[in-house]
Each structure stands twice: as structure tokens, then as C-alpha cells.
Symmetry: C2
Subunit: 248 residues, 2 copies
């Protein structure tokens, strides 16, 4: 699953750029999911007085609304990005307005100042209003999604890589970098996605069908815990894989 | 996790009953989640013209909207009840308007005809408008959530049991019944939740391809060990199977 972000100030062409990218990706037979960051403190999806709003106000902390063609799961808290991405199994997931991640990023802007305000080491393209007047800035291409969508999506196909695990800096850095640094180096062509050491896991854990990424030392703790119990049992051998299924 | 349903015709007091139940359950320190079935064919949570609506119309098939205090996951299809319940890890989940399940059910109604239209073998109480005029019908109590909420929630605590797996009739019936039949028999006191054969927490361990038999308490130790580690990881859920592969 490949993940990238589109960020930019309001009215700089962010959602239009995303719409055009989605349409072109779908045209190329990719499945696409999206995540929208709402920068409005009191945001809520539901309207006052609906049944689900009444559930929430009475104290329900997770509310689902299911219709014939749509199901909404409403968490009453801000999930972190990894929690959100775990719901997805798409070819591409586009983040709108989600900042400060490792994800390769397209910046939309009105002008050079707008670019300067948001450019970072993970920026791989500019788009939106500015791309009508500019074809590159500081070596990064500016591509208009209205007139050059194929070129923009070609670049996305070339640059965007498989989701990084987004581990906290203090608990991994096994490749020598934070996830954001590694992302930047992959975009520059100096490293590759395979340099993420979590790619090859010796201990694979799935909960409810979903694989959970573990840094090496957590893998080791889990392995030791299982071996400590299993090692006492008749029939145990120190060689060979251990498979465990816990039905719940 | 205990699950029950409240069904009834529009304006019969369904949402009011649920609000009062949620408040009383929360007062008793239970965590509560809810699921609302929308019987309106063109239901969608989002409004026309929002950014997320534009994502959807461009072809995004799963859309998340994250605000400071709320995160919405919008599936562009109707999930089945088991898929929805897998998001929950609450003490109680209340289904509003979800019909035809194994879940113990409270029927709200205006009158006896409203009861007759919706009563089934899993009905364990009546409430809503009718409960102002009636204290029982066909041996099932009618309890007013406005004036007798403690009595109603006492009954919920007494009657509602741990979520059944809701297996398809053709692929289980290991207890001799469908999930709905077993539910009805539990409510009548003729069977217990432990009669569901899937209750037994099967922990299956293979070392080097060979299955190792464990007595129940060893299974439990192994499960606890794995859950103790896995439970600390992002992406862990208390529901669903745990699968572990240790490559050696």
C-alpha cells in the first residue's frame, strides 16, 4: 500500500488536485482510499439532533451508522495515522492536509511564499495554483493537475513507495534513520524502501487478520515469552518454526 | 462484550429509550458503544460538496475524516454486523433498528399492534410509548425508560449475555441450534452462554510443523503471555484471533 500526502493552504487547489489524482489513479485500475485532516477544532461529522448524535451525547464512545450503501464508524477521539491506515488495504492512500509524517508530499500553493511555508525534505512535487506559473522550484517539479494529470500521476507512480511503519524515533532507527529521514533519502534515490529493516520480520503477528508491525526488540520479547512456555511442553523442539493460533 | 438491540417503529420512543439506557449504563461504569441502522436508502453521512464528498465522488472507496476530537471512517458499502462489531471492545454495544440478528431485543411500540409486528423469540422487554400503559405482554415485561430506568437496566444486566459469534447457520450449529435459536433458549433460561461450543478458547501451537497438545490452563498461560506483549502494540485489538509465526 502506497501512501502520499497533499498539503497546502486553503484555496490553493488542494482538493481539486486530489480529485484529479484519484480519477487518474482509478482510470489506471488502482484502488484508492483517502484521509482528510480537518483543521477545525470543533469538527464533527454528525449533525446535532440526529439519532447518532443523541447516542454520543448520552455517552456512547464509538458509534456506527449503517445505511444501504455506506457504513460510518465514528470514533470519539483523534486516531493516530497508523491506526487510521490499518483500516486500508488499497493500492494508494492519499492524505489531505496531514502534516509532519514520513509520507512523500505534494505541496499546493498560490505562490512561492506558499511553497516556502510548507516545503520539506519529503516534498516531491508542487501543484495547485502555482503550477500554472511555474514548472519547477529548487529542482522539484511543479505540475498542473488540470492540464498535466498524466504527468503528475506518472511521477506519483515513480516516486511513491510502500507505506513505512512510522515507528516512533526513540524505538526503532534500526536503519540508522527516522522514518521521515529514510523517506527523504528514498525520494532522493540514495536509499530504497528495502533499507527499512522492519521489512523482513522474523516474528509475524496478526490480530483479527491484521498484521502488526513490531520493532526487532519487541519481536524478541514476544519470541522469548512463547518459547518460555512452549519450552516446558512435551514434544517441543528448539528447531523449526513456531506457529500459534489463539482463537478468540 | 454484551450486545443487544432496540427495535421499533418511528416515534415509538426508540432513541429516547436508548439514550436513557446509555446514561444509566455509563453511570454504572460500563463502556458503551452503539450501532445505528439507517432505513433510508440514500443515506450518507457526509454533505454534498465537502472535501471528503469530493474524494468519494472522484473514486475513493474508503474515506477517513480526522478532527481534533473525532475520527470518522467512511466505508462505501454496507458492512455486515460481525465486521462492525469487530471495531468494538466495549462492555455493552446497543444496536438501534438492527433487525434479524441473534441479539436479545427490546421492542419499543405505541400500542399492542406495534408489539405484535416486531415481537420475536429474542424479545426480552418492551419499552417506549407502550410502557406508559402496560406492564407486561405475553409474559414479557414492559418497562418505561423515563420513570423506571434502573429497573430496565437491571433487566439488561440480568438477561444480556456475551456476544454470540453469529455464525452462518450452514457452517456451525455445533451446539445443535442456530445462533438465534441458542439466544432465545438462553433468554428463556433453558440454555446458557457456555453452551456455545465456540466458547472454548482454542490455543493451537505447532512447533516444527507438529501440533503440541496443551491442557486448558497451559493454553491460558500461553494466551496471556502473548496478549501481554501484543496488547501494548499499536493496531492491537481485543477481538479476533491472534496468529503468530516465529521463524527459526
Amino acid at each position: 500500500m502506497k501512501v502520499f500526502s497533499v498539503i497546502g493552504i486553503s484555496k490553493s487547489g488542494k482538493t481539486t488536485t486530489i480529485e484529479n489524482i484519484i480519477k487518474e489513479l482509478v482510470k489506471r485500475n488502482y484502488s484508492v482510499g483517502t484521509v482528510k485532516e480537518i483543521h477545525f477544532h470543533n469538527f464533527k461529522m454528525d449533525m446535532d439532533g440526529t439519532n447518532t448524535d443523541r447516542h454520543k451525547k448520552a455517552g456512547s464512545s464509538l458509534i456506527a451508522a449503517r445505511g444501504a450503501n455506506e457504513t460510518n464508524i465514528m470514533y470519539q477521539r483523534k486516531l493516530n495515522l497508523n491506526e487510521i491506515l490499518d483500516f486500508y488495504s488499497h493500492d494508494f492512500v492519499i492524505l489531505e492536509g496531514v502534516r509532519g509524517t514520513w509520507a512523500p508530499t505534494i505541496v499546493t500553493a498560490h505562490d512561492v511564499q506558499g511553497i516556502e511555508d510548507r516545503i520539506s525534505e519529503t516534498t516531491f512535487a508542487f501543484s495547485g495554483v502555482i503550477s500554472g506559473n511555474l514548472s519547477e522550484y529548487k529542482g522539484i517539479p511543479a505540475i498542473n493537475s488540470l492540464t498535466e494529470i498524466e504527468k503528475l500521476v506518472d511521477l506519483i507512480e515513480e516516486k511513491v513507495f510502500e507505506r513505512l511503519p512510522d515507528m516512533k524515533d526513540e524505538c526503532c532507527m534500526k536503519c540508522g534513520h527516522t522514518c521521515k529521514e529514510l523517506s527523504s533519502l528514498i525520494l532522493k534515490g540514495e536509499k530504497s524502501r528495502t533499507d527499512c529493516v522492519l521489512r523482513e520480520q522474523n516474528v509475524i503477528l496478526k490480530v483479527n487478520g491484521k498484521e502488526i508491525t513490531m520493532v526487532p526488540f519487541v519481536q524478541k520479547i514476544l519470541q522469548n515469552s512463547v518459547e518460555a512456555v512452549a519450552g516446558e511442553l512435551d514434544g517441543y523442539s528448539v528447531n523449526g518454526n513456531i506457529e500459534l493460533l489463539i482463537k478468540r
